[in-house]
């Protein structure tokens, strides 16, 4: 059972004692009725699917490392992981804010439609894959195939990017400060405009990071794969 905290609108769950099911059920079905808006989660111990499917303006603080799909399909809530996150952090997020204070594994922010995902450390392979409108700020570097088929949204990478960055991009835009090992098919560097620099400055500010926007390069789609034709060197 959950413990009541001295703060009336706060509730603490200890996953060494409370079940994941109880935690998620409370946030889905009970928190609003109980007037609870702040959730503390202790001893996550790498559990999967913590705080997934939230649909309310909750503040969730997770103290430790989490497994797959933390804050998956989040709407409205603000979830902070004081540790590292497994694959699919904030996957398919619609709105709200997810902040991973450590590193994030593969597919962080996959297919996220809205909201802001902040990763203070590095993000692994396929960060922002199939992105559909969310913003992602990575304090460190990203792995290969990040932003693969990303359709909309913005990704700010303060470190480096591995191979095939932005492969088969649609309308999403990537800002990268460090080195790019290689661009993916149909991705290209483009000049930074004043609007781009303002965007980067704003997103860095929201993430609490300080860098000079002038240090970032813009990567976007060349749009040569938008329509199929025989002369495009395409493999599909």
């Amino acid at each position: 059972m959950a413990n009541l905290n001295p703060v009336p609108n706060s509730r603490e769950f200890d996953l060494a004692r409370d079940s994941l099911r109880d935690l998620n059920f409370f946030m889905h079905r009970q928190a609003a009725a109980d007037g609870v808006s702040q959730i503390q989660v202790k001893n996550p111990d790498g559990a999967h699917s913590i705080a997934c499917g939230l649909n309310a303006d909750l503040q969730v603080e997770i103290h430790g490392h989490v497994g797959y799909y933390v804050a998956g399909m989040n709407k409205h809530a603000s979830v902070t992981v004081h540790g590292n996150a497994g694959p699919g952090a904030a996957e398919n997020m619609m709105s709200g804010r997810v902040h991973v204070k450590g590193f994030a594994s593969t597919a962080a922010g996959a297919s996220a439609h809205g909201g802001l995902l902040i990763i203070d450390g590095d993000a692994s392979l396929r960060c922002g894959i199939s992105l559909k409108g969310a913003d992602i700020v990575v304090g460190g570097s990203v792995g290969s195939f990040s932003a693969f088929m990303a359709q909309a949204g913005r990704i700010v990478i303060c470190g480096d990017a591995e191979d095939a960055l932005g492969d088969s991009l649609y309308e999403a835009v990537i800002y990268v400060r460090g080195k790019v090992r290689s661009l993916g098919a149909d991705a290209r560097f483009e000049p930074m405009t004043d609007t781009d620099r303002a965007t980067v400055k704003n997103l860095l500010g929201e993430a609490g990071l300080v860098h000079d926007p002038a240090e970032f390069k813009r990567v976007a789609s060349a749009k040569s794969l938008y329509h199929w034709h025989a002369d495009a060197d395409q493999e599909y």
Partner: protein
């Protein structure tokens, strides 16, 4: 005098020559809709051994034969209860118009069965008209919305599709109109590609965790289906069971598509008949028959097909192309203002004719079924389409119960493999039933 004798090559027949010359001219493969056109062993190659002296039949017109079907009883607290074991297969808004999705929902609701969304998300029309709606979670995640997860009655994780297992999807630009583009977060008119792999998991071990995420999000209420295109079915079904699926949907190679490479449609995957037997074998091997339900799809057309599928071990079937044909696909005419109007000129403009059309990919469906064109989609009146589809589903169900009664079954789910024989050696081997008039099942000792 007779003219020179024309001899067509078996290897380079006119069809092959046309294919090579078209490829040489265009530099692109052919893309088309619907399913495989080649003949493969199928349910027509099976026959029922109805009651006689050794079996006792039910009275065909009077005795009750149960068709109620439960899906998702393994873990979900709210399983799907259907009046008939015949469901509407997943088809996208994008491939089909919103009016068609509406018609599907109305007919399904009237006969007590389910409809299924497709790539591109859930439309308000289909949610409103469908009492029971299965929400697909596809690799592309186009339009995938947790609000729709909560609005759905079950979730179907799509690994593959019978027409194109391993192949992802495509929607050509002419069908990506403003609404489709908005739902899929894509530029209008783009030749859209759907991913072939899910973005946030990569294998069966990950699938275990993905299913649990969906269960957590739905508070363990809704059944989780897993749909596979028929290839290595025996192993795939076992992996899906281990991953925690409540229901497994197996889609054979005759399954339809709105737009796929012809080479894929005709050359990838295995026939539904073979796929079904492998799927049932896998469930038997795990002793999970009855615990995990099996839905088979891919070229199901009639009550006979459904009866044979159930006798082989399926719990239900899903129909896609048959449903579209019921709505009017490949008809000579469409109904407007209560009148049947000819669509022949539009077929001709597409270079095809009723009975042969597979031009779903063009978006110029002459009867308004597979189109996003504002004028063409009006050729399908949802009320008219729903009535036709309801008639079709009722007919198929009546045929099913007719056969079941003749086999002495009070419940269509009591049909069994022992009721079947095969007409061909190939079908006997694939279905695992005896060749008619013998006790021989190829590959097994007599």
């Amino acid at each position: 005098m007779t003219g020179p004798q024309l001899e067509e090559s078996a290897g380079f027949d006119r069809s092959t020559i046309e294919y090579i010359q078209r490829a040489a001219a265009s530099g692109l493969y052919e893309i088309r809709g619907l399913g495989a056109k080649r003949r493969v062993p199928n349910f027509d190659d099976l026959l029922f051994l109805a009651a006689s002296l050794s079996r006792y039949p039910l009275e065909g017109y009077r005795e009750r034969c149960v068709t109620k079907t439960l899906l998702g009883t393994r873990f979900a607290t709210r399983p799907i209860e259907l009046a008939i074991p015949i469901t509407i297969a997943g088809m996208s808004f994008g491939a089909l118009s919103a009016r068609v999705k509406d018609a599907l929902g109305r007919a399904a609701t009237d006969v007590g069965t389910s409809t299924t969304t497709g790539d591109g998300g859930m439309t308000a029309e289909e949610r409103n008209s469908s009492k029971t709606l299965i929400y697909q979670c596809l690799p592309s995640r186009y339009g995938f919305d947790p609000d729709d997860v909560r609005r759905a009655d079950a979730i179907e994780i799509v690994i593959g599709q019978g027409a194109k297992p391993g192949g992802g999807g495509m929607l050509l630009g002419q069908k990506v109109n403003p609404r489709v583009a908005r739902m899929r977060t894509l530029p209008e008119g783009v030749d859209q590609r759907s991913a072939s792999r899910h973005p946030d998991w990569t294998g069966p071990d990950d699938l275990v965790i993905k299913i649990k995420e969906l269960r957590e999000i739905t508070d363990w209420e809704k059944p989780i289906y897993v749909k596979v295109g028929a290839t290595r079915v025996f192993n795939d079904v076992k992996l899906a069971v281990h991953a925690g699926a409540d229901v497994i949907v197996v889609d054979g190679m005759q399954g339809g598509t709105a737009a796929t490479q012809t080479v894929f449609i005709e050359h990838v995957g295995i026939p539904t008949l073979a796929a079904l037997r492998q799927a049932v074998d896998a469930l038997d091997d795990l002793n999970m028959r009855g615990t995990v339900q099996l839905v088979i799809s891919g070229g199901i057309r009639s009550g006979a097909d459904v009866a044979k599928a159930l006798a082989m071990g399926a719990d239900a079937v899903a129909i896609g192309q048959g449903v579209l044909v019921a709505l009017g696909c490949n008809s000579e005419s469409y109904v407007a203002g209560g009148q049947h109007l000819s669509a022949l000129e539009d077929y001709t403009r597409l270079g095809t004719a009723p009975g042969f059309c597979h031009h779903c990919h063009t978006g110029k469906c002459p009867v308004g079924v597979t189109t996003q064109d504002a004028a063409l989609e009006l050729r399908l009146d949802p009320a008219v389409g729903a009535k036709r589809l309801k008639n079709y589903l009722k007919t198929v169900n009546m045929e099913l119960t007719t056969i079941a009664r003749a086999c002495g079954k009070q419940d269509v789910h009591h049909l069994e493999k022992e009721d079947l024989v095969a007409l061909t050696v190939e079908a006997a081997a694939m279905a695992g039933v005896p060749l008619a008039g013998t006790s021989w099942i190829p590959g097994r000792a007599v």
